[in-house]
């Protein structure tokens, strides 16, 4: 019982993942700045931001539905932290693993977007409403290629459990190379999930101020910010576990370090991608996802189906 609680609250649960999320935000921001030839923030900047936001006054718009408005950020935060618990971190096992957890992680990572939608919608601000409608519209575009490409990898491993996938690829060391198309598809789709350029349409500041977050302030905004940071870590961890399932050694510490490096590598790729492109329009984004990402995801599934027949 105590062990489970420790898992949930301390490591790899709430405390660890919050710190990891904020550090990931630092890495992202610093790298973004360095790529733009700027100095960038000091390492404690994300922590300082969160502490400042928590200390600030919380304003609930008088026309907003207070229950929904307050529940949405917590709901989102819980979902992303839970998603992280299922990724095999330091060993080819994870404390809460069960068959089918990959589907659950994928759906848990969908919840923040829906929570943002609910929060934005019930805050009744026009900008928040436009932003939340955009967030959901975008969800339908990137979610399909993301699911398809991640499940393609699971298809090859013949399992819907993250631990089993990792075990399968450990047994067949070089099989992960077949999934590289899927990796790039899901990396781009992850940009949409994390609302980063070129898919930061729901919170495009020059158009809709802060999108669904426009009316949020104080603690609730801090939760939302934390939620996006953790979502980045959880998403990167999922991608690392599914597409780079190697580097698990006897020593738990070494495997853990390797895993963290993999997550950092994926975050660095995200920063790089968001540095070199402009924001797309929502119609262009949907076009791009359905006309380019989905065919590639389908191709990945096809490759894996063929491989499954050949390699057996």
């Amino acid at each position: 019982m105590i062990k489970e609680l420790l898992y949930i609250l301390v490591f790899p649960g709430f405390l660890f993942v919050s710190i990891a999320g904020l550090l990931a935000e630092y890495v992202d921001r610093k790298l973004y700045a360095r790529l733009q030839n700027r100095i960038g923030p000091p390492w404690f900047q994300p922590f300082a931001d969160i502490i400042k936001l928590i200390a600030k006054e919380e304003v609930t718009p008088c026309q907003a539905n207070p229950r929904m408005f307050h529940a949405a950020p917590l709901f989102a935060l819980t979902a992303v932290i839970t998603a992280f618990l299922y990724t095999p971190l330091w060993h080819t096992s994870s404390p809460f693993s069960f068959n089918g957890d990959i589907i659950m992680v994928l759906y848990l990572l969908t919840i923040p977007t829906l929570a943002f939608f609910i929060g934005g919608w019930y805050s009744t601000s026009l900008f928040a409403r436009i932003g939340s409608v955009r967030a959901v519209t975008q969800l339908f575009a990137y979610e399909v290629p993301l699911f398809m490409s991640i499940l393609a990898s699971a298809l090859l491993a013949n399992s819907w459990s993250l631990v089993d996938i990792v075990l399968f690829y450990t047994r067949h060391p070089w099989y992960w190379c077949f999934n590289l198309i899927g990796f790039f598809v899901s990396l781009v789709a992850l940009l949409g999930k994390l609302e980063k350029t070129p898919f930061d349409i729901p919170e495009a500041e020059t158009e809709v101020v802060a999108g669904a977050f426009t009316e949020y302030s104080g603690k609730l905004l801090a939760f939302l910010r934390l939620c996006i940071d953790i979502e980045m870590v959880s998403g990167a961890a999922l991608l690392a576990a599914v597409f780079f399932p190697f580097g698990f050694f006897q020593s738990a510490f070494l495997s853990f370090v390797v895993f963290i490096l993999k997550i950092l590598g994926i975050i660095a790729l995200i920063s790089l991608l968001r540095t070199v492109v402009a924001r797309l329009r929502i119609d262009q984004m949907i076009d791009f996802c359905w006309k380019l990402l989905v065919p590639f995801a389908l191709l990945q599934i096809l490759i894996n189906l063929v491989l499954k027949g050949v390699l057996r």
Partner: protein, 127 residues
């Protein structure tokens, strides 16, 4: 060729370059020598023609006679727009622009500077 990520090379190269920004309050900025910053007044050169007062667009400079051929300049840096017209208007070159631009102050009163000849006795009337 039209392609996405056209700036990729440039962006990757700048990781290894020195950042273009600087940690400002820690690292001081260097201004050009002839930058128009804070004004300096030489009381011994002033003849009290008050052309600077007349030409000043904002009324930031006030010349007060403190004694026989003695003048004092009261410069309000919160009003000054650093155009340097007073320097041009002065026939005796009693005014000078320094390249000092760091004027930020919490107290408005501290921005008001009085220049007077220190060697002579003070009998300046407060304006």
């Amino acid at each position: 060729m039209i392609r996405p990520g056209k700036m990729m090379q440039e962006v990757l190269r700048s990781i290894f370059k020195k950042p273009a920004t600087s940690k400002y309050p820690a690292e001081k900025l260097e201004m050009a020598d002839n930058y128009r910053g804070k004004l300096k007044f030489f009381p011994e050169k002033c003849v009290g023609c008050k052309m600077c007062m007349k030409d000043c667009p904002t009324g930031a400079i006030v010349i007060v006679k403190t004694g026989e051929k003695q003048f004092q300049a009261q410069i309000d840096n919160s009003k000054c727009i650093f155009c340097g017209q007073c320097v041009d208007s002065c026939f005796k070159k009693a005014l000078l622009c320094t390249s000092d631009v760091e004027l930020a102050q919490l107290d408005r009163e501290k921005l008001k500077v009085v220049f007077q000849d220190e060697s002579r006795p003070k009998d300046c009337p407060k304006q």
